[in-house]
Symmetry: C2
Subunit: 434 residues, 2 copies
Amino acid sequence: MTASGRLLVEILSIGDELLMGQTVNTNAAWMGRILEEEGWRVNRCVVVSDEEAAILEALVDAESRADLVLITGGLGPTRDDITKHVLCRHFNTSLQLVPAVEDRIVAWFERRGREILQVNRDQALLPEACTVLDNPLGTASGMWFDRPGGVTVSMPGVPYEMEYIMEHGVIPNMQMRLQRDGRLPKRAHKSLLTMGTGESQLAAKLGAMEDELEAVGVKLAYLPSPGSVRIRLTAEDHAVDALGAAHAAVLECLGQWVVSEDGAPVEKALGDVLRENGWTLAVAESCTGGALGAAMVARPGASVFFLGGIQSYSNTAKVNLLGVKAELLAEHGAVSSAVAEAMAQGARKQLGADYGVAITGIAGPDGGSEAKPVGTVFMACAGPSGVRSVHHRFGRDRKRNLEMSVRGAAQLALEMALNEVGDAKPASGVADSL
Amino acid sequence: MTASGRLLVEILSIGDELLMGQTVNTNAAWMGRILEEEGWRVNRCVVVSDEEAAILEALVDAESRADLVLITGGLGPTRDDITKHVLCRHFNTSLQLVPAVEDRIVAWFERRGREILQVNRDQALLPEACTVLDNPLGTASGMWFDRPGGVTVSMPGVPYEMEYIMEHGVIPNMQMRLQRDGRLPKRAHKSLLTMGTGESQLAAKLGAMEDELEAVGVKLAYLPSPGSVRIRLTAEDHAVDALGAAHAAVLECLGQWVVSEDGAPVEKALGDVLRENGWTLAVAESCTGGALGAAMVARPGASVFFLGGIQSYSNTAKVNLLGVKAELLAEHGAVSSAVAEAMAQGARKQLGADYGVAITGIAGPDGGSEAKPVGTVFMACAGPSGVRSVHHRFGRDRKRNLEMSVRGAAQLALEMALNEVGDAKPASGVADSL
């Protein structure tokens, strides 16, 4: 437990594939988010290999600090999965067959028309000392162990199975326990998202305000990612009441750079503005291949504003499907403000949308030139008040260039839409026209 | 150092944003991959908060085990970044101004036309005891500390800056040191990717072979993700010579389920087959909004085979841009095999491609019905030999449904392309036609 009475959590992820980077540990991030929402504090995350000694050492260490230890991974039916055996040794217990779990596993295989093997049935062998947490999405159950000083839970590493067990088993059981013990944590966050400047400039601008905020118990953090800086305000206990005013003061101070007042990603902020105003969006994507459209539909409810688009990766597609003039391509090249603007206008027209947004650039690692090096990207947005384009020179990394392109295009469209509703923002990137 | 003489590495990531899940720890995965390629062993990854006591405890712990400790994060110019001060305390040293670094920082701001602040200049204050590792991509330098028993390096948490310092500073310096000490590790991996069955079935099929492989020093691991299982073979020292034969034996045994012999993701395998045969690809995406196209262009060189596509999120786009008949939509609904096939044929025709691949489905969380619940997705592929479609019923999670749709569509196209070259594969999903 922390000094402020918050539940202290540690996460122990097991798997060589995580250490070797064959799998990204998205589980830990997901758990961090949901635990934070509960007001619990994640103190540490540890990743260890599929080896008994390493698992035991990390487990003992985590249990010495944390109220709740969450273990993921190593529960599959194959030989490299040893977590269950390590837990039996650690909690001095042995495996027993749980018939209800076996029935569920058999039914799981029957529904899928797959042959069931002994190793699958063996997943119903569970430590006697644990309380089983149901997993209807797979064959490995969650295991809840009460121990002196807290609770340890083991879950499969498959993300949606872990998420189910967290949401339906771990969180509600833990909440009941905290309620019983009269431990109701109080903590809150607010965020805002800025673009167009760096974290040092933001910190300088906030200056003295940061001291005042700390004095009332509100902590600031700067979270930079490519192209944007998220600012997070955190308050605990009594300071929670001061959070609203603190957030408003920071918004006021940084207004010129704020692209989303609730810290939502720029694509979400764009979707919100379009939805609120009944506007529709179409895209035209060259180098990003569809990533902007994918970002726009990543959240539910996109069909209200997103009509679709054209993935005009080839020049033929730009001409045939977007109506970009061949002479324009010949004169300026596919990576140019003229072509980006024609693509945006083409998408707007072809889909019959209020806004058309286009991206064309050189993602790399090849294809650059002296005049247009790798990382050169043009973005354009055509809307009711005309067309505007910007260009950026990102770096040499293809993945990052594609991400930045999506974010930059969404920002340009967001700026134009906000201008249309009268909430003016300064221009991003290097303006090419208008 | 491990028993086999491999360099032992531990990663220490610093940042509340990682613990709270606001940022996914992709740095650790990237480092894991590159260190593994060097034949070094990542033993443990730990994430701790921006607090001196937590950082110090984890650092002392990691240094007690590892030859090389890699720290990321907490080097920004703002107040919540305390790593540099913690390192000074830990290594009993103090900060001094490094003029060459200051010059670089000043130039960095001048190039961008941004005002430089004192906090930015202060990033040239670095621990006296360290060797500075250049970071031309940002303002926080890498710091290399020699210590009894090994090396500790601190790097910024911004991924591309960390990657630069790793590739240009940490790896070459460490290699020189290992060469000097005559410690040349030997280790190798091979992978293959399967789809269409689970890890227990794969393990059962491999059966006795697994014992034989272990006897010659080749270790197997099963790495499941939604829709596929990657199998990784690892060999150390003398066993490296046995790896090729072991990989061939596993391929032979599991042939019916193998979709990529080198373990490449299915989208990469599809791109490779298309490239090798000089075929082109077009996409038509409804629920995925462009994610299949984005997956196809994620790797360099996609312009050889990827022509583009239509993001037909709205029905109007399906009719106007893909030529799907309005009667077909009215009769079968947008989420149907008939419409998926018409979309695939439309994409093939509109883009003039050899293969057209289409996705239409209900990603959720809303929009499902009794007959077509959330997670129902139809995929179709039109190629030189006709059109084929399959449908899947995934789950209730939007993000996962979109991922699985992209993978399923790429698998369908890969199967058709492999059939065309005579390397037949069994059908995936539930076949709807052909």
